[in-house]
Amino acid sequence: MSSNGFVMSAHEVRKRFGRLEVLKGVSLEVKRGEVVCVIGPSGSGKTTFIRCIHHLEKIDGGRIEVNGHLIGYREQNGKLIEDSERSIARQRAEIGMVFQRFNLFPHKTALENVIEAPVQVRGVPKRQAIQQAEELLRRVGLADKRDVYPGKLSGGQQQRVAIARALAMRPALMLFDEPTSALDPEVIGEVLDVMKELALEGMTMIVVTHEMGFAREAADRVVMMDDGRIIEEGTPEHFFREPREERTKQFLSKILV
């Protein structure tokens, strides 16, 4: 499907907010079925980076491709021009995103949250969408909560519904933006379990997280970001045993206590 064999490839991505340059040339390639964890101190640009993959932020330089298609822009005479609203929306439909603060739709039940996009965006018949949504809710262990509004769910349950909602669009790539950092410690495990299962089933995932336990169990690769750059890359084992960079060692010593 993809021209270069990668589900996602980012090349020299740059992004600035006013004078502050948050991404100073980030390149990353992710293969089909690969799970990549992005770690790094706050302000290192990791969240901005995955928001750029979803074109929730415009980029100021470089290029991002998903499934071989340029994200958010089209090429015209060697220049990049921002794509139309509709075609960006079409691209986003192929990429799932899970937010730190869940962002479930509070005026819709768990089931309605999951069927909303398939029905409204893809035009899937409602009955079929409901069937699929029930299956997804079962997968994240919330079959019994289908008619409950988000306000009545715990943080962990809300995040699992959010994962089901993203999966309902059958994305080629799933992005997770610190999916467990807004959660109470006792419910983090249930969300990570769902994510691990997803990884085992072969979903291509990019996960911004500080959960090194998850990285060790589920990730193929860990990427360390600092000050708008990727400063170190390797297997989870590499990061546990012999991190190369001084800043990586410092960062890991803080989160692994």
Binding site: E85, F99, N103, F105, E116, Q120, R165, A166
Partner: protein, 264 residues
Amino acid sequence: MLAAFEWHILWQRIFHPDHVFVLALWRTIYISVAAQVFGVLLGLIAALMRMSKIWPLRVLSGLYVLVFRGTPVIVQIFFVYFGANLLFGFNLIPRTADFGLFQLDGAAFAGIVALSINEGAYMREIIRAGIDAIDRGQMEAARSLGMHYRLAMRRIVLPQAARVIVPPLGNEFNNMLKTSSLIFFIGVTELFGDAEIRYSTTFKPVEYFTAVAFWYLVLTTIWSVIQAQIERKLSVSERGEEPSFRERVFQAWAPVAAWGRGAR
């Protein structure tokens, strides 16, 4: 002098309203409802223009609010009724406006137009505040699922904003019921106008205006009951399942019934 108050006029106006009065009452209601509906639509359009990427639309929306919140309604009503014809040299307000299905008195039509435009300026601020109150994450989540801006607005943001908008909208309509009395000055015989005409022929102003105050009070009271119902309905999803009317009656009775059983 209190004895001079002719109570029978008041009772007659309250308990035996004649058909002229009923027609006036009906005018107040339909003019207020129409002006409020169009005012909300204008406000919504202006609010969306205010958030547009295209700057002339934003400026236009700003000017609209500046002008119509900054000048008296009565001036706007007169402007629409007399001024437009003079300024633009065409007859904006026909003696009767023919809408196919029904005809509308030209003055009433002008009144609805003026009140709608005025109301739209206030509604723009209310609707914009309602949309602003919705977490930005909602729009992002909707767009991350592949919804384009308008779909996300219609399906996700506006339904949530409605809950924030309805209480102040209710106040606006309450105001509208009363403000509509100003269109008497362009010759629409609504509630206030009816009282005005009666008093000028009988010289009993206090009796007639007491009666008209009573009827305005009836209208606004009925509206506040309707408003409370709408607000309750809209907040259902926030609190989860809403008990039906019967269940609420049973719940209210439960302690009484328990007390009854305990006493025996």
